[in-house]
Symmetry: D4
Subunit: 236 residues, 8 copies
């Protein structure tokens, strides 16, 4: 199968995001092989695979001997290669602990894209005081990713409280009419608070890409961070 894959190593330069292996529905050996080929074709940064089945997660370390391999079973990601020095920061809010797999996929992708991600979890609207308590931490961040399942109300509440570009990610958590996350997705699109931009259900990866583009721009403009990065690189 892999012999007819057309790698797109130029994608990182063109869009700021390297090609990534979406492992769902692929044979484990194909996924591992594709990671290896990406690693070779585009050595400027680590290679990332998302939605990895158990067989990929457990075999990755042995497959890539001599490489820095980071496996996250909760977020189902494999990263091969050293993470870049982060510039810029994104805050990731998760409504409940069941939304953590999506949050982890998002945080790992941010790290691969060279952006620092900070997680604030279990701040769903059923206990509003938890959210109100962490609001100050959102002041001035470049971008906030807000993950929620069930009725997907968290982005609406956050977007009405702070002046931050906000990306909402419906998580597939729910049951009955809300099973699979479709209700959360539709509710986020219908938000009464303006400016909520929505990703596909469970798409922590895509949210990270959107957020990283915003955060890197802000960091670049700022300059301070970039300077620090240069300094750190010197001592690295």
């Amino acid at each position: 199968m892999e012999s007819i894959a057309r790698l797109d190593p130029d994608r990182r330069r063109r869009t700021g995001v390297p090609e990534v292996v979406y492992a769902e529905g692929k044979l484990p050996e194909h996924t591992l092989e594709l990671i290896a080929r990406l690693r070779e074709a585009d050595p400027d940064g680590p290679a990332l695979a998302t939605r990895c089945p158990e067989a990929v997660l457990s075999r990755a370390a042995d497959f890539f001997v001599g490489e820095e391999v980071t496996v996250d079973p909760l977020g189902r990601t494999v990263v091969v290669g050293a993470l870049p020095r982060p510039r810029g920061e994104v805050t990731v809010l998760a409504a409940g602990t069941s939304d953590l797999p999506v949050a982890h996929e998002c945080l790992t992708t941010l790290a691969v894209l060279g952006v620092r991600g900070r997680l604030i979890a279990d701040v769903g609207v059923a206990g509003l005081h938890r959210l109100l308590g962490v609001l100050p931490e959102l002041e001035g961040v470049a971008c906030a990713v807000v993950i929620a399942g069930m009725e997907g109300a968290l982005p609406s509440v956050v977007a009405g409280l702070v002046d931050v570009p906000l990306v909402a990610v419906p998580s597939p958590v729910g049951y009955g009419v809300g099973a699979g996350g479709v209700v959360a997705a539709a509710a986020m699109l219908s938000s009464c608070s303006p400016g909520v931009a929505v990703m596909n259900i469970g798409n922590g990866f895509g949210a990270a890409v959107h957020a990283a583009r915003i955060a890197r721009r802000a960091a670049r403009a700022d300059g301070a961070d970039g300077g620090a990065a240069v300094q750190e690189a010197r001592h690295g």
Copy 2:
């Protein structure tokens, strides 16, 4: 048409709710005629028609000369006959001013069922402080009806803050994927806050019935209000 309608005048005794004319899709003259027949068959309380078209609203006063007629163009209701003395109270929250038609249908029905309704409007989640400011008014009420369109998040937030039986009514306010209120309805059913019971889209009437059954029970048990009612009735 009306000649083959089978009136159900016993419904008030059996279920606590009189038969009501649902005017949507009926010819105005049929609606008016049915109100008159209900008034005659069940004189113990006022007759109510909901979802009245303009032609019913504007002709009702002339049609029922000599009767006490209350017309609400916003809620699209017509009441013929004197309202009963209210016992018990229900609070009605509306997320936005566009939800007022549903709120009005609910308030009028509460009045017809002999329950006092109090409206708190424009407390949607996009400006949370407005809701937090009115929370104390919800303490100890017998039942709260919460109306919202778009993403329908308000009931989730309220249900996480107070210990009150809560009936959520999705309103048909919204557009795009949320047009017609279907997203609000699904979101309310998927609420992460426990205990949110949901009515059909725009069903302020049904919410009032459910809430009135709760409030009357509470008022009856309480006794004080009942006693007052007896006294007032004496002087009435």
Copy 3:
């Protein structure tokens, strides 16, 4: 995972309902751990976990040695800690024997919330005489929970016969166009009998919360039951 959960021990005081563990999609050890932490943080009442997988149900008794542990395999619930003395009563109707899992989740939750639940099962509309035979038992109850799958007609029929606050719970029983309970849910929302309030599919837990809020209010107002509770407590 659990280290970043923000427990909400104040929820019981604020909303009358303690925080509860929704075990679906959680690792069994996380669920057991969360129950333990809830038990510790909120010792005023028992801790409840719903939608428990087999691994939680079978391990709960051993995990909580020295505690009163109640496991219900049909309703898939685990309760740790002594149940409170019940005050107030709710009647739970189930259309068929396939609806019993939802009914059991509801009954267990009622017990945890300190409300007596009475089950009347297998009274679906295909054999109406079964329902008519039990109707007298519904007279004067504080609230009725009505569970049905397939076409979800039972709540409509009940609501046309008695003067009781009625909560309808669609069960996921059905096949073909009615698979998963979506048709039952939509039918209940579309009920021609006024006052039917609807929960999410299979949400026996949420129905119990709504019903308990109504029943406790009625019992409190009544006083008698409370008095009895005090007496019993003396001898307890």
Copy 4:
């Protein structure tokens, strides 16, 4: 347009049902012209047009001078030609007065097909005693057509009470999640009472065809009715 229509005058012999003009979406003059052509091509029985717009209903009498023309504004049908002597009988139940347009389309079609139709209206499940009161009239009928909108529960209840072939017709009466009759249709298909056969929403015409095929068969077998028909024809 009509010049390229291929009339199917043999349909009556082949299927027991003549070709019929479905007027929705056709220009009034085309509908009237098609009726005339059908009348000519298939003179063995009256010509029927269903779903007629106002312009057809009001012009039909003048267009077919010298013919027996029956116009039903409620059922939106036009019949040109004398109705056949009825043989066999079908009972049509309508849940509410808003379902009468569907019932009328059904009754007119039965008449055109030579079957006697009897209407029992306003027997919805919100007032069950009304239905129970008319049940004896269903004993022994050849076929029952049951029309309901909203949650579409009536066929389930009826099918659990009598031994009669039952055709359910969802009517487009409803709002919110039940708008247009889709919920009624799905609920009828999901009926917990066995043997409920369902037609498309509002398809009173199709229900009449199905019922007439059953009723004519029964009448034919019976013989008595046929004999009477011959007698009556003698004195006619």
Copy 5:
């Protein structure tokens, strides 16, 4: 579980159809137990269980020692008790061999209800000549059940060719947009041929009930068959 089941042994007398065990989602031992209880409570005819899982099918013969047990693995039915002498006949058409499970459930139910069922299989519209070849066999039958998956076109074609009451059953055969049979169901409801009455997806049982009611009526009226039945019974 079974202790709270309310058997409805009167159902056979009331509706012409005995209570039946729907085994899907029930524990095998409960299904077998319920069959036994039905057998006892209603000994006038055999007991039927539909949608039986493998465990019921394989254990039925041993469980009901001394009884006549008929197990159909394709139709997933178990019948306990002797089948009644058939009166009247129904023709069952299946579009493809994949539709046979539904056809078998229908045929077994017909047998249990005392009606002879004749199967004509693999006559789908992709090879029309196969259908045209068997058309003569449909002449004069009391009722035809037509089963099809995918686009569900077969009932439309049959209904345009013969004068027979026709019950269409969508089968869950299909994939892509037609997965699960929903498209077949909707297409059958939308049939351009009048008189197609539709059952839920895969509901061969319900189709048999509707068809049997029609066929028994026809057979009863006819008399000949009944007389033969009496004769046969004498020699039986």
Copy 6:
């Protein structure tokens, strides 16, 4: 508005199909203006506008004085400029007379694209003999376009009978669950006859483009027709 439209006059050369004005939702004057600009930018063939509202249809002749203007009120098209000499042929089947608007849009587009279209109308599956009678006319045609609404069964039947590339177009004719043509579209996609390719609902234009590409290829290869075209052109 039109000032920022970017005309694509190269489209005819690139894809074989000129840019076309989709008039739905455009102001009449904008549509007429765009036709004029297309006419000027791409004078090699006539300019076409589809889905024209009444105001465009009635004003087109006066707007384009001195041009050959063809207006089709049924198909809602306007063609400005002389039609090319046709090469190749496509047969268009329409199930009923209500499908003629879609058929006309298809036929006009074929003419604009230089392909001869032949219409065979009113051959729906409810009267199969009509279809069987015209089958011989389909032998050897380059492509068949088959239009049907309601249950959309016609393409399945045709595709099982002839060896012709077949394009199915669902028409928006239908009501109830089949309203708008969605059921016809899904049924056509689910066809049990292989090789049915489907267009969007009502997209007679797109079907003509697909069919014309096939027919022109066949005609070109054939050569005979092309030669005739040259000859005719000489005498033209």
Copy 7:
């Protein structure tokens, strides 16, 4: 109605976005009145009303005599008050001329929020060269808003070509299965190009809010623009 509206004048400070009047479904006089009240309560910037019906658009200028009033009939917006000096820039791409209403709502909102918007229209994927020709203009922009109807493919193509935060807005342009924009919305959420964030159908307003938050941040960080603004202000 307006007397119970709770204005939220603090919203601009809290979220960077002033409260805005959504005029759809409101009476024209209420909309005008609400604009006036917003203008008074929050004089720091212009007041905006979106989705204005004709009656608001035509009466706005007369209603707000002495104010700077900007009415956009295509985008259906009314702005009362002087627009702020723009800082930062957002590029708005529209696939077709039918998407211009959504683009205009977006551009007006950007202007109200103090951000410069640049429109690139009619660059849909059916003529890819048009898009490729304008790509260089996207280099280095702070944020791109991409509007498309029908199959909504444009954002996927753009996101694979440039390194820019991208907000996709489905427009309600389409017909058949794509009517109303639901397919475009779902396709955008399903984009194979990472980082596409999606707004509700037709929500040009929300896209502008999201984009403005990004662009203002970038402009602020940059500083140059801010300085220029101060300078310009001096000479203004």
Copy 8:
């Protein structure tokens, strides 16, 4: 089961396509048996089975000893018998490597139908240059099959660039709102590029049938290929 299958060996002559075994949902032994019977009844070409489960794929070679058996595990097809000499050619484009199963089913079917298929894989719109690089290969082909999942944008882009009959096949690749391929299917039907004809999700088989009918026609007309075929046959 197979004993009642009615083979249609005449189908190849009638429609140009032999009967084919759709193995999904059939028992492996039935599939193998049906292949054998088809092979016998219609020996003019190879027998094909699609959607074969593992058990058929692995047992086919042993079952058909002495026959030429071709098994494709990726496309899940089994072919028994020698492939015909190909005439005409079809190009198959696949957006990503996950779409290869559909592409393989298509390619195998083309081979069985005697048409040469050429695969161009991994040319999705996220990296447009890959597609632009292979465009010249599409010039002059008889038909192109374009397969894509997720948002299904590839056919729109291709159809705007080349003058080739284009068949789009949605693949079931996607997640969240795009799970199962329904969004890709709807997007392809809604294409803004004219002439995109769509197959059911994953229906590589049907696409091959449609494409083969086009390609064979073109090849036949052309003659050259046919001549070559004759020559090759001489030397074969």
